[in-house]
Amino acid sequence: MTQGHDPAVITAALAAIETSINKGLSLAPIAQRELAELEGTVIGIQCTAPALAITIIIEPSGELRLAHYSERKADTQVRGTLEDFAALAVSEDPAATLINSNLELIGNTAPLIALQQILSTMDLDWEAPLVDALGDVVGHQLASLLRALFQWGKASGSSLRRQLSEFILEEGRLTPPAAELDAFYSEIEQLGLRVDRLQGRIQKLAKRLGAIKP
């Protein structure tokens, strides 16, 4: 027998939150249209402690489908403990928390960022449907997890994409800024031209030497 949460309980919670999101989306046609462009995208959220897996599938209609069990390969996978997700939710610098925490981001992050941006513009009540379905303790935990992933960008008023890129550039120094890269490419180009010129001179000299020889 497979162990863990009662699938009916988790399914009830996901059905409730799915209804809540899709109801919100039906009133936000632009958001729904933007989501429809991500048709077929699969985002996996894996909470390792307590063990809980949620898969978010974007339907052709732009609606979301939330599943407790899915065999579809996730385009983006976010993995961590509830504590990690909670830290992200309350962080004043979410991008830095995301990078420095034990949360693992696997795969293509673009769909997650797009989904986060769309959902963060909507006034979704994550708590009520989950607490109704699961009770105060578990419902609140799951709501924290989802809020951590999709709502924190709203409070700071800036997007995950910008915060992430700022962090990667300025704080993490993981990639060089665009200006540094441009200067670097320009120097390489100059070097290439100088090498070409040098090669031309060498050929010219070689020709002269050939002409001098008897």
């Binding site: 027998m1 009916a8 399914t11 059905a15 069990y69």
Partner: protein, 257 residues
């Protein structure tokens, strides 16, 4: 593979119909009588009896099916077609869904509901017996039977028939009432099944006997581990089950080798 080659063909002349022992040949007719009686109010009664939770049980079963576009799905004892309608959307226009039921009344209600929902084009309805499925060997990607197996006279034979028509790697999902894992829950469940359920049947469908049969048939159905063994005996591999709502319902999954 022929169904008669298996070891588990039952020899007994009688079988159970709820708590009654009846001749094996009569069970099919008696079950048909029950479902003829409840067909028109089947979904309403399911919602009332389970407080709507049957929709969640089916939703999780649907997730476990992991069906993809273009696949062929057989929903046995599909009754009023709620699972078939969802499968129809998942397999898309290149896939096929077969809604099968032995009971003509249930199938009619199911077909009408599906048309009303606009689910058509890739759905076929077939009246057939789960013990002798009229489909070629290795032709189906996924079979579901939700709250139907307990009404089948020879369950082993039905499981072998399902194994025969599944493609190698195809999966069977059996959603069925089972044995609660908590004794306290079991007591409350007994009280509910034998006192409240028939009363609901009487009030809503004016059919106390049919709903008493439903309660009795649940108690006579094999428990989780027994059904798991039956599936393995029928040739399925990687068999497992998930208890739901404290074991009141379990969904078993098996893969054709």
């Amino acid at each position: 593979m022929s169904d008669t080659n298996r070891d588990h063909v039952e020899d007994a002349e009688t079988t159970h119909f709820g708590y009654r022992e009846v001749p094996r040949d009569d069970k099919e007719k008696l079950v048909r009588g029950v479902f003829d009686s409840v067909a028109s109010r089947y979904d309403l009664m399911n919602d009332l009896m389970s407080a709507g939770i049957h929709r969640l049980w089916k939703r999780f079963t649907l997730e476990l099916s992991a069906v993809r576009e273009g696949q062929t799905i057989l929903d046995i004892a599909g009754g009023t077609g709620d699972l078939a309608a969802k499968f129809s959307r998942l397999v898309g226009p290149t896939g096929q869904v077969v809604l099968a039921d032995i009971n003509d009344s249930m199938l009619r209600v199911g077909r009408d509901r599906l048309i009303d929902k606009g689910a058509s084009g890739n759905i076929h309805t077939v009246q057939c017996d789960a013990q002798a499925l009229p489909f070629p060997d290795n032709s189906i990607d996924c079979i579901t039977i939700a709250f139907g197996l307990r009404n089948v006279t020879d369950k082993d034979k039905a499981l072998r028939s399902m194994e025969r028509v599944l493609k190698p790697g195809g999966r069977l999902l059996v959603l069925e009432f089972s044995k609660p894992t908590n004794p306290l829950l079991e007591n409350a469940y007994d009280l509910y099944s034998f006192k409240i359920l028939p009363l609901m049947g009487k009030l809503v469908a004016n059919d106390e006997d049919s709903y008493r049969y439903l309660a009795e048939s649940i108690r006579k159905h094999p428990d989780q581990e027994t059904l798991l063994e039956m599936m393995e005996d029928a040739g399925f591999v990687n068999c497992q089950y998930h208890n739901m709502t404290g074991g009141i319902v379990a969904v078993h999954k098996g893969i054709k080798a």
